[in-house]
């Protein structure tokens, strides 16, 4: 990840609360966009490093959400502890996905899609724990730390931005490490990589775990932001699809692209498309995505970079 990305994040810390902090509606949208961004980064990490396209990240998102809600409500675990624990519980559940790692491309995608459905059904049926389709309400809000109210829109924003920065840094660190190089090698040449001593199954499993953890954590934070959960919401296919759209839009091969794509897509959809067409505004989103795939398959970020380079008259280097 470039230094400019860190700089941009640092600027956001200060500028966004100052500029929009007074507007609860707008800040709420920004917070939601960061939720999508977190899942998009987790999704892209699994896809880009692990070489696995997932259509089922809703499963980890929902498990994280329910786990944190139940831990804090039934066991009285402090919210800020329940959130990482929820991430670990999402990892635990992702272990059940390990057999699917042996499946290639589309079969893995389908398996994980089915997996998310199973969880939605389980959450609906296990009424004693989840209150079934009636849902759970009054999930505790984010706490106040050292006089700073994390449950305010600005507090939620800062917490999520911090998580996002941590995710991006982790993703970047893995990608640059020897593990990242080996994972990149596996994409097209799995046998050649294994034969020099790389345990490909283990490395892919780790990427699944890291991705599940991140997604679970974001699902958990979201539960404490909206304070209400029902299976159809927590395990909604939207949590699987939106991050994919965002990652493709922003540039799924880059580290920061999916996060930027998520924020842009979400805000433009909510603020512009929704105003233009109140019902079915997703159609515009779909059309934009189709155009992107046709004309800029590498996504928005590489597109902008190239445009910038051309404007500066710089060479390809």
């Amino acid at each position: 990840m470039r230094r400019s990305a860190y700089l941009f994040l640092a600027v956001c810390y200060v500028v966004v609360p100052l500029a929009f902090g007074g507007n609860n509606y707008l800040m709420g949208l920004v917070v939601s966009s960061l939720i999508v961004a977190g899942v998009a980064v987790a999704w892209a990490l699994l896809g880009n490093l692990g070489g696995m396209v997932s259509f089922g990240h809703a499963a980890f998102f929902g498990v994280g959400a329910y786990a944190s809600a139940l831990l804090s409500m039934k066991l009285g675990v402090p919210v800020l502890l329940a959130i990482p624990l929820a991430g670990l519980i999402a990892v635990l559940f992702s272990v059940a996905m390990l057999p699917a790692l042996r499946l290639s491309g589309p079969y893995f995608a389908l398996a994980i899609l089915a997996y998310a459905q199973i969880f939605r059904i389980l959450a609906t049926e296990m009424e004693f724990l989840t209150h079934g389709s009636g849902g759970i309400s009054q999930i505790p809000v984010l706490p106040t730390i050292a006089g700073f109210d994390l449950s305010s829109r600005t507090g939620q924003f800062l917490l999520l931005l911090t998580l996002l920065a941590a995710f991006l840094a982790t993703y970047d660190l893995i990608r640059r490490s020897h593990y990242g190089i080996a994972l990149r090698a596996m994409h097209d040449s799995e046998d050649a990589t294994r034969v020099v001593g790389v345990n490909s199954v283990l490395l892919k499993s780790w990427m699944l775990f890291v991705s599940a953890f991140m997604t679970g954590v974001i699902g958990a934070v979201n539960a404490h932001v909206i304070n209400f959960l029902e299976p159809d919401y927590a395990f909604s296919g939207g949590w699987s699809v939106l991050p994919i759209v965002a990652a493709i839009f922003g540039g799924y091969r880059t580290v920061t692209g999916p996060a930027i794509g998520a924020v842009v897509i979400y805000l433009v959809d909510q603020l512009v498309f929704k105003a233009l067409v109140s019902t079915g505004h997703q159609i515009i989103l779909g059309s934009v995505l189709a155009l992107m795939i046709l004309f800029a398959p590498d996504g928005l970020l590489p597109l902008l970079r190239n445009a910038l380079r051309r404007m500066r008259g710089g060479s390809h280097a």
Binding site: H178, I181, A182, R184, A185, H187, D188, S189, D191, A192, T193, R194, V195, V196, G197, V198, N199, S200
Partner: protein, 243 residues
């Protein structure tokens, strides 16, 4: 020390390797010869773990039964191999190929050693190129050997790395292999068609024909064996046709 114990490989109805038993010390240079389709590469695949042999077959390395061990574990035990059709790790540079092999195969990070391997395999200039795009066939073959060396093997399996080289280049490459054998005490099992090469490089030769081991001995013994001569003349002509 490598030991193949009654190894058989079937692909559906085809028996590619039939009941082959073979032992070699890690201090030997052994040639594996035989006509195209004799099962030489398949035998390498069994040793390195890419192909599962039929039940009853056993592969031992340093006294340990590795028949069911996953690929990466064998590499870490000290089995290095090259592929007949080069299989560089795509999406990586030449140097990154060696970094991965060293880090995961030998379990260490030693950039200087990688530089030495690059130099030995004459890939210094190509080090930062994409392995998948920027290399000629002979460079890819040297990368195969370099990758295997980076894992710091005890036994090196080389699949036709000398094929297609001109006489001088071939001699130079053989000198390097000899040096690796002598300085590192590296065992080498090499698949090669050229009788002269085998005779000058190897202590021992094993001959496969239609998946069966038909001869095993010193080059002098083996290449005067009438069975070998018969199967071998076929191989020579087969290779000429191939070229």
């Amino acid at each position: 020390m490598l030991e193949l114990d009654h190894v058989t490989v079937r692909f559906g109805g085809l028996t590619a390797v039939q009941d082959v038993s073979l032992r070699m010390g890690s201090d030997q240079v052994v040639g594996l010869v035989g006509p195209n389709g004799a099962g030489k590469t398949t035998l390498f695949n069994v040793i390195s773990g890419l192909v599962r042999p039929a039940s009853g077959s056993r592969v031992l390395f340093d006294g340990r039964d590795i028949t069911r061990l996953p690929l990466h574990r064998r590499a870490r035990l000290g089995l290095g191999r090259s592929f007949q059709i080069p299989q560089p790790m795509h999406e990586l540079t030449v140097r990154e190929n060696l970094i991965v092999a060293q880090r995961f195969g030998a379990g260490r990070v030693d950039p200087q050693k990688i530089d030495r391997i690059l130099e030995l395999m004459e890939l210094g200039e190509q080090a930062e190129r994409d392995a998948a795009n920027g290399l000629a066939l002979q460079e890819l073959k040297r990368l195969e050997v370099a990758k295997a060396l980076a894992t710091e093997p005890k036994l090196l399996l080389l699949d036709e790395v000398l094929a297609g080289l001109e006489t001088l280049a071939k001699r130079a490459f053989m000198a390097k292999l000899r040096e690796l054998h002598e300085t590192l005490g590296l065992g080498i099992l090499i698949i090669e068609h050229d009788i002269e090469t085998i005779s000058s490089l190897c202590h021992r030769v094993a001959v496969l024909d239609f998946g069966q081991l038909i001869a095993d001995g010193t080059p002098g013994e083996v290449f005067s064996n009438p069975d070998v001569i018969r199967s071998y003349t076929g191989a020579e002509s087969a290779e000429t046709q191939h070229a």
